[in-house]
Structure formats: structure tokens, C-alpha cells
């Protein structure tokens, strides 16, 4: 595989007395989907927030395209080409798809001394980009609140890709979705990878991870339990690693192997 576009070495993050991350190393290459798995509270969200400039790591280094980076804010990370679709606040439901899509990057059309939001261009591009991801909008002025959860995630992903993301971080994009919508989002992830973008995909769900992932890293209580390539690991092994093996094995037998 090619050189990693982003490389995180020994990242630690403390919140007061809480050690959320205790030395995590991780990298992702262009055109690769690297899945980050782990149980609730394992530190997945905290980890990707250090990658996207929301948190500054307590220690450790971040190499982006081979150079050491110190992101001061999400804006810096975005400018470098790291886009994040967050678990809970991907979109503003009260606003239209176009307004959401361009939020923070509104195209400007000058009329004399005045600078207006170029809705004509914005609407057209939004429709086109959404169509590329397989979603045909009724109209671009439709509020995001009228879209389904999966469609919202897709708007967020399409937006990130359109604005030139080199690294796309997805924090549990499938956690609230049904079967059909999940497969749509997974298909979108696959499309994004094929465009040569590096994808970091966080999920609880081993099957979702295995469906699109090239590599898998499991976090547990702020530490990595290791990284495996596709084909090197079975779903069962991954599942065990995520939940700390032992206890789950017991639980599983009592549930008749359905987890």
C-alpha cells in the first residue's frame, strides 16, 4: 500500500484525572478504509477529535503527509483536508439541504459592492453531488429534517468529499440506521474510497466494519489492542477483541451465540 496520509504516534489525551487515551498509534492511507472499533467509552471519539483538531493531544505526534502537524482548531484540520462527520451533529435539521451543504463555505456572487450567497450555483452543485451519491432530492431547498438518517449522513459525506477532503472521518455513521439505510451508507463509503480518499470509519458493529474495511484497529480503555488487515482476522476474533474476550464468551454462550 501507499504511504500513510496521516500518522498518529503514541497519542495520549488526559481530561483532568481521566486518561481517555493512553498512547494510541494509528495510520491511514489514501484509498483505504481503516476501521476503528471498540466498546462504549473506549476512546474512539476522543481519538478522532485529536485527529480533527477539536482536542489537542496531551502528548504524541501527528504526521500529516509526512509533516508534523499541530492543529489549533477544527478549521485548521479542515483546511488541511481532514473532514469529520460527527456521530450526533452532522446536519442542522431546520435548514435546507443546500444551506447545510455549504455551511461555512458559502459561494459568493458579487453584485456591485454587495456580496450575495450564490444560491443558483449552490443548489445546482448540491443536486449533482447528492445524485452522485445515489440520492435524488425533491428540491435543494428541502429541509434536512425531512431526510432520513442515512440520507443525512450521505449529505454530510457528500459535502466533505466535495470540499476536497483527503481524509474523511466518520464517527458511527451507521449507529442509528436500519438495515437498508446502513447498506446505503456503506455503499457511499465504498464510493468515497474509490476516489482515493482515506476513510476512518468508527463503528461498534463488526459486520459493518468487515463489509467495507481494509484494516481494523480495536481500542479498549484508551489503548490499542492491535491492528489487523482484511482477511487476517475472522469476525469472531474481532468481536472477542472488542469486548475483552472472556466475559463475552460467557455471555455469548448464555445467549446462545446470537451476539
Amino acid at each position: 500500500m501507499t504511504e500513510p496520509i496521516i500518522e498518529m504516534k503514541n497519542i495520549e489525551k488526559h481530561f483532568g484525572a481521566v486518561i481517555a487515551l493512553g498512547g494510541v498509534s494509528f495510520d491511514v492511507c489514501p484509498g483505504e478504509v481503516h476501521c476503528l472499533l471498540g466498546d462504549n467509552g473506549a476512546g474512539k471519539s476522543t481519538f478522532i477529535k485529536t485527529m480533527s483538531g477539536v482536542h489537542r493531544p496531551t502528548s504524541g505526534t501527528i504526521l500529516f503527509e509526512g509533516r508534523e502537524m499541530n492543529f489549533e482548531s477544527p478549521r485548521d484540520a479542515m483546511a488541511a483536508g481532514i473532514a469529520t462527520v460527527y456521530q450526533d451533529l452532522a446536519m442542522i435539521p431546520l435548514m435546507s439541504v443546500t444551506r447545510n451543504f455549504w455551511m461555512g463555505n458559502e459561494p459568493i456572487r458579487k453584485i456591485g459592492p454587495f456580496r450575495f450567497f450564490d444560491f443558483e450555483l449552490a443548489n445546482r452543485v448540491t443536486m449533482e453531488e447528492m445524485a452522485k451519491m445515489g440520492i435524488n432530492l425533491r428540491e435543494p431547498s428541502q429541509a434536512v429534517g425531512t431526510l432520513s438518517g442515512g440520507e443525512r449522513q450521505t449529505v454530510a459525506i457528500a459535502r466533505a468529499v466535495y470540499f476536497g477532503a483527503k481524509v474523511l472521518i466518520l464517527d458511527e455513521p451507521t449507529s442509528a440506521l436500519g438495515v437498508r439505510q446502513t447498506s446505503n451508507v456503506l455503499a457511499t463509503i465504498d464510493k468515497v474510497r474509490k476516489q482515493g480518499i482515506a476513510v476512518v470509519f468508527i463503528t461498534h458493529n463488526v459486520r459493518h466494519a468487515l463489509a467495507v474495511g481494509d484494516r481494523f484497529t480495536v481500542l479498549n480503555r484508551g489503548r490499542t489492542l492491535g491492528t489487523a488487515r482484511r482477511g487476517e482476522i475472522t469476525p469472531e476474533e474481532l468481536q472477542d477483541m472488542m469486548a475483552g474476550g472472556q466475559e463475552l464468551a460467557q455471555l455469548e454462550s448464555s445467549l446462545g451465540g446470537t451476539v
Binding site: 451533529l89 446536519m91 435539521p93 431546520l94 444551506r99 458559502e106
Partner: protein, 365 residues
């Protein structure tokens, strides 16, 4: 993906389903009502029209500020106190201290806009709800206003502004009238009535369009264009819709909110200045309850109290409803207390309709 489930949206529905529908219906209802009960009372004669348009314009000026601020996710309960404060400061500076009126007005604007910024900073820095912070300012500013007024003049009303404003270049921008020639011409044609006696005999009963109305129209157009046609407007929606999501994509949410507090203070000061110039005096108790009247206009206009959704044109219609009802009950000779009953009823009806419409538009559940 779900094309087959999309119903064809009819044009009628498209026209109907808009955030301002509640306010439009309310306005129509109110006009029909008063045409019926007060149609021959002079309410719709030139003087009557001027009467309720001026009152509506006053409401509209503060409603535009309150509307943008509410869409940005914040309230300002200190608007009424700010009006009283601005008026007294102009009067003290011009009448008591003998400053030229234009200087008094400009300094007052600078002062109140800074106070708006302080409101905004406190809300942003403390993370407290703006409801609490600006409620504190409601008391602080009102108290300061009365104290300042008594301290300098031993009174709570300061007169003599009209005299001080004679020949001033800035005062007419707030207190003057425009198109006076046109109105005189209409009077000469016999289209509008003229005074038949006294010093103003031969002059039209309505001399021109008060600057207050020009300010209201200007602010409405400015607010509407800013909100719906510019990048900054998108940021206003985003800041109120979900501040955190907006920050993540680089929207300067704090700046947007603070600027909106400043704009609200600006609108309150326009109101105050126009009022002082019209009456020729300032009083420490002016502007009482104006913050609520502004918020009610905005809510009738379809804005969501929690931010992220609303319309300036809707708020302006809300202000129109407010003005017409208040003056209409006066013309129809109804008990003025009924004004409140009627207003409360319209408020409830408009908000119910707005909520229903908003659910259709935004898919809220």
C-alpha cells in the same frame, strides 16, 4: 432513492407552505375584522392610516432586531430598557449638556451598541442563557436611566429636545417627514383633506411619510436580504440551529451572536431616537414591555423561540398585526383592555398555525 414515494407537490401548496403563513393569515383576518367594525370610523382615511402605520412601524423596527437575534438562538429582554436609556441619554447630552443634537445621537448609538456587545459577550463567555443575562440588563438599564435622569434634572421627563434639534442635520433623519411636496400636491388636488382653520389652514392633514416608516421599511428589507440572500444569513440560521455543528464547519458562531445583540441594540436606539424627536422629550419610563411586544411580533411571524428558524417579513407582518389591532380597537371605540384579549388570541392562533406549517417544512416530529 425514494422517488416513487414523493408526491407531486402542487404549486398552490408550495405557495401556501411558507414560514410566514400564520402572519399572513393573521394580517388578513385583522384587516377584514377592522374593515367590518371600524370601516367608517376614519381608521382607513389618510390620517387613520398614518396613525396605525406609524405604530406598526415602531413595532417593526424592534421586531427586525429581535427576529434576527432569535433566529441566531438568543433573546434580548433589555430592548425596552434600552429604549428608555437611549432616549434619556440623548436628552441629557443635548438639552442638559448643550451638545449639538447630531453628536448626542451618534454618541448614544455608540454607547448602546457597545452595551449590546456587552450583552453578547456576557452570554457567550458565561454560557448562561441570554434570557437571564438580558433580564439582568432589563433592570440595570432601567434603574440607571431613572437614576441618571433624576441626578441631572430632578425629573424623569426631559423636555426641550425639539428646540435643541432646530436646524440640526441628523435629527430630521429620525424625526422628519418625506414626500411632503407630494402630499401637498395631493391635497391641492383635493385627494386628501386639508386643515380648514388655524395656522395650518390649507396644509394637508397628513403632511408626509414619517421617517420612522422609512426606517422600518429599510430595516425590514435589510434584515430580509441579509438573512435569506447572504453568507452571513446562513451563519445566523446555523448559529441558532445548532451552534456546535456550525462551529465544527468553521462558522464564527460567537461573532455572529454578538453582532446580532449589537444590531438589536441599534434597532432599539433607532426606535428611541425617532420617539424622542417626535415628542421633543425623553422619559425614563419609555419602552416599557417593548421587548415582549417585539418577541410576540417575531413569534407571530413564524420564528421558532429556540432559534434556527424564522422570517423577517413574517416578523414585520406580526408588527403590522400588533399595530393595527392596538389602534383599531381605539378607532372602533372598544375597551382598550380588549386589545390584550384580542392580541393574546391572535398570538395563540398564529403560533398554532406556524407550528403546524413548520413541522411540514422541516420534518420535525
Amino acid at each position: 432513492m425514494t422517488d416513487e414515494r414523493l408526491k407531486q407537490v402542487s404549486t398552490l401548496r408550495r405557495i401556501m407552505i411558507r414560514p410566514e403563513l400564520g402572519a399572513i393569515s393573521g394580517a388578513i383576518l385583522v384587516f377584514v375584522f377592522f374593515l367590518m367594525i371600524a370601516g367608517d370610523s376614519g381608521m382607513f382615511a389618510p390620517q387613520g392610516i398614518q396613525n396605525w402605520t406609524v405604530v406598526s412601524a415602531q413595532f417593526a423596527i424592534i421586531a427586525v432586531g429581535a427576529c434576527l437575534l432569535m433566529i441566531a438562538g438568543e433573546f434580548d429582554l433589555s430592548v425596552g430598557s434600552m429604549i428608555g436609556f437611549a432616549g434619556i441619554v440623548i436628552a441629557i447630552l443635548s438639552v442638559q449638556w448643550g451638545w449639538p443634537v447630531w453628536a448626542a445621537i451618534l454618541v448614544t448609538f455608540a454607547l448602546t451598541i457597545s452595551l449590546g456587545a456587552v450583552n453578547g459577550f456576557l452570554v457567550i463567555k458565561t454560557g448562561l442563557p441570554s434570557f437571564i443575562v438580558t433580564l439582568a440588563f432589563l433592570y440595570i438599564l432601567r434603574g440607571l436611566t431613572i437614576w441618571l435622569s433624576i441626578l441631572t434634572t430632578q425629573k424623569t421627563v426631559i423636555g426641550g429636545v425639539k428646540k435643541a434639534a432646530e436646524g440640526d442635520w441628523l435629527a430630521p433623519i429620525f424625526g422628519g417627514k418625506v414626500f411632503t411636496g407630494f402630499f401637498q400636491w395631493m391635497a391641492d388636488q383635493g385627494w386628501i383633506e386639508t386643515f380648514t382653520r388655524g395656522t395650518r389652514a390649507g396644509q394637508p392633514v397628513v403632511e408626509g411619510v414619517p421617517m420612522l416608516i422609512i426606517w422600518a421599511l429599510g430595516l425590514i428589507i435589510f434584515g430580509q436580504v441579509l438573512l435569506t440572500k447572504t453568507r452571513f444569513g446562513n451563519w445566523i440560521f446555523a448559529a441558532g440551529g445548532d451552534a456546535q455543528a456550525a462551529r465544527y464547519v468553521g462558522v464564527p458562531v460567537n461573532r455572529v451572536k454578538i453582532l446580532m445583540f449589537m444590531f438589536t441594540a441599534f434597532c432599539a436606539t433607532v426606535f428611541a431616537t425617532a420617539q424622542v424627536m417626535e415628542f421633543g422629550s425623553a422619559a425614563a419610563d419609555r419602552g416599557l414591555l417593548k421587548e415582549f411586544e417585539a418577541i410576540i411580533s417575531v413569534v407571530i411571524g413564524g420564528a421558532l423561540l429556540t432559534g434556527g428558524y424564522g422570517s423577517v417579513v413574517g416578523a414585520a407582518l406580526g408588527a403590522l398585526i400588533f399595530g393595527v389591532v392596538q389602534q383599531g380597537l381605539f378607532f372602533s371605540g372598544a375597551e382598550s383592555s380588549l386589545f390584550r384579549v384580542f392580541l393574546g388570541t391572535i398570538l395563540i392562533l398564529a403560533v398554532i398555525l406556524n407550528t403546524y406549517i413548520r413541522r411540514i417544512i422541516t420534518g420535525e416530529r
